[in-house]
Amino acid sequence: MKIAAPKPQLKQLQGSVRAFPAPLLLLLLGVVLLFVILLGISFGSTSIPIGTIVEVLLNGTRLFHFAQPWYPTGVIVWQVRMPGVCGAVLVGAALGVAGVLFQGMLRNPLADPFLIGTSSGAALGASIAFVLPLDTIFGSFFPLTPLFAFVGAMLTVLLVYAIARVGSYTPVVTLLLAGVVINAVLVAFQTLILELSPHAAFGIQALFNWLSGGIAVYSWSPVLIVGVIIVTGLLCSLLLANALDAFGLGEESAANLGLHVERYKFIIIIVGSLLTAAAVSISGLIGFVGLVTPHAMRMLLGPRHRLLLPASALGGAIFLTLADLLARVIVAPAVLPVGIFTALVGAPFFLLLLRNNKREYRW
């Protein structure tokens, strides 16, 4: 019983953290995110002092007129580093919130945004894009891979949902099973395509990098398009906060609280998948952000989704921006896949939570 001894202390600690006013915590997360963004812009092949970045950014608002730094700095900040960092922020926020949506709906703390087919659908779409001898569709500015990944992810989720539907209900168990089966089938298709394709040899290294996850954004246009989708998704998810709280009691209790359970389930799946698919389209498959972020935020703020959703958006953004920073810095000038760092940081952190907090994971 020696192990049990420190537990009461931990509970008290948690109690006091919960007592910490929530708005202050959200504000704190916002400040941390700003700092991390500046850090992300600052580090790279040439480091730029944070003061300079702030000056450049404030000049951008046209309200301030600091002395221009020497020529390439402004370009590096605005055209090279900013799109990448913004991409990381968007993707992190999307995955964090999608994680909250799926965990809340499925009442399963092990759920992550990729559970019901988004990952395999996106991967299959990306593979098709890689083996096609085209780079863009009719020279449009949006590259082929993210588009195919996005479409693949959304189609897969709709397919899984349609398969899992029994009459007018979509039981969680069939949803998860259909997700697992469709995942397996799509992975098989993906392997088949790569095996048979004559172009595969050229694309395979690029595809591998894509699958390992990396914020592959070097211009503003994809960030803007994906940004619109993700911000819309984030706002929609805020409208689902009350419903998600009620889902925590189980579907029948949620129905008894006046919710149209099946309708909400569909909306949650669509919003969650839209966020995930949009994120995946510019980042590839990045694990652990959607799984770990909601847990960490739940420990800080409790399970109320009204707070949990915005907090997870901020938390996910912080997490991924930091991971992206590490990926770019550690063996600079080479860039490692971000997925490596989210797993290396996320997994131990998750295990730590699990050990200290076993009582929370009753299902």
Partner: protein, 467 residues
Amino acid sequence: MKKRNSETLFNLSGARKESESPQSTAPLLEIDGVSFGYDGHPLLYDIHMRVNAGEMVGLLGPNGSGKTTLLRLISGVLHPQQGRMLLQGRDLQAWGRRGIARRIAVVPQELHVPFAFTVEEMVNLGRTPFIGLLGSRSKQDANIVQEAMQSTEITPLARRIFNELSGGERQRVVIAMALAQQPSLLLLDEPTSHLDIKYQIEILELVQQLNHRLGVTVIAAMHDLNLAARYFPRLLLFQRGIIADDSPAEVLDPQLLRRVYGVNVQVGILRGATHLSVLPPGEEEQEIEREKRSRPRVHLMAGGGSGELLMRALADAHIPFTAGALNIGDSDHALATRLAGEVITEQPYAPISTAALEQVRASLTRASLLVLCPMPVGPGNLALLQEAASAAKRGVAVLMFAPAGTASQAATEESQTAEGTLLQRTGIAMRDYTKGEGLKLVQEMLQAGARVVDSVGEAIQIAKQYS
């Protein structure tokens, strides 16, 4: 239908408010001929019940008798396949999910919550049906939540984590959550089945208090007969249909309980207690029971409501009788369960099985009189008539009950022999759906000396001679 501008919490909630409106004549809940089954397996038959505002009703019945299903039908989560359900005089589904949630709250057996909600957050969830998508909780909501926590005496627990509470405390929180919905009707599904005796009593005291003080109507499924007897002035005994609906003194009848639960019990008022208690019987009692059970000398075959008149008359005349085989869900089965000494039971809508037929045969060897009610004869129960015919040939007296009006008028020309007239009087031709096989069996029985009577009085006179 906004109820949020009430000054005090419960005075204006649901039931009271509705009672001032023109709908006041309608009972709070009216269930009219509701049947339900899962995946084609029928589970509830032809339920009729009315619950008035302010009542406290306990549902009794063995496991799988359909108590929970009935509660889920009332809460609108399941939809009846037949019949209709009215809440405050209006069709249940017409209220909409939110509308129902503002009037009916449900306390499940046990609530599992995978996340660490605090007690206050949980009770707050009870306000869900009253707040919009974006709408946050108003001061009014906060007051209602506080009052709900005070009513259930959980205010000191407000900041504790729900999952870390004891079972009894958790159930209190769930009841507080239900109260925050300001329900007119509170449904509880075996609310005490996972609790120690101390908490069982505590929870039921609380529910009773809410009923008395706040006027919340309560319908609760109960598995503990003693607690049900103590706290519920009206009990409904269930076996896929309503077997009895009355005060505890009427419903907790040892005979009835034996037939529904399949176990011998004795019921009485313990010394120093004020309510009925249900206990396992002493050994002598069991002896008497056994003797009683072997006594009936009259066996009755019925079905489709044809046995109602005679069974009631036999019971009134204190003539013990056995009945069957009857299908569960048949109104005759429900009645026989209450009135007959032994009921041979068959699965719903199923043809009479060989096992049931053997029981019928055994019952007929003990019986000296077989009463045949004017039930329809089809392929499903033709075997019963075959048993009856062979019993008649063995010398068991057979009495065919055929009240006037059931006999066919059209068959007057058939044959003018005495036997033909008798056959005609049984009315079998009108209710034979076996292409003449049933008719043939009735004919055989008449040949063996079966008597046909058309009045209940006459039938009882004859039955008295045999019992």
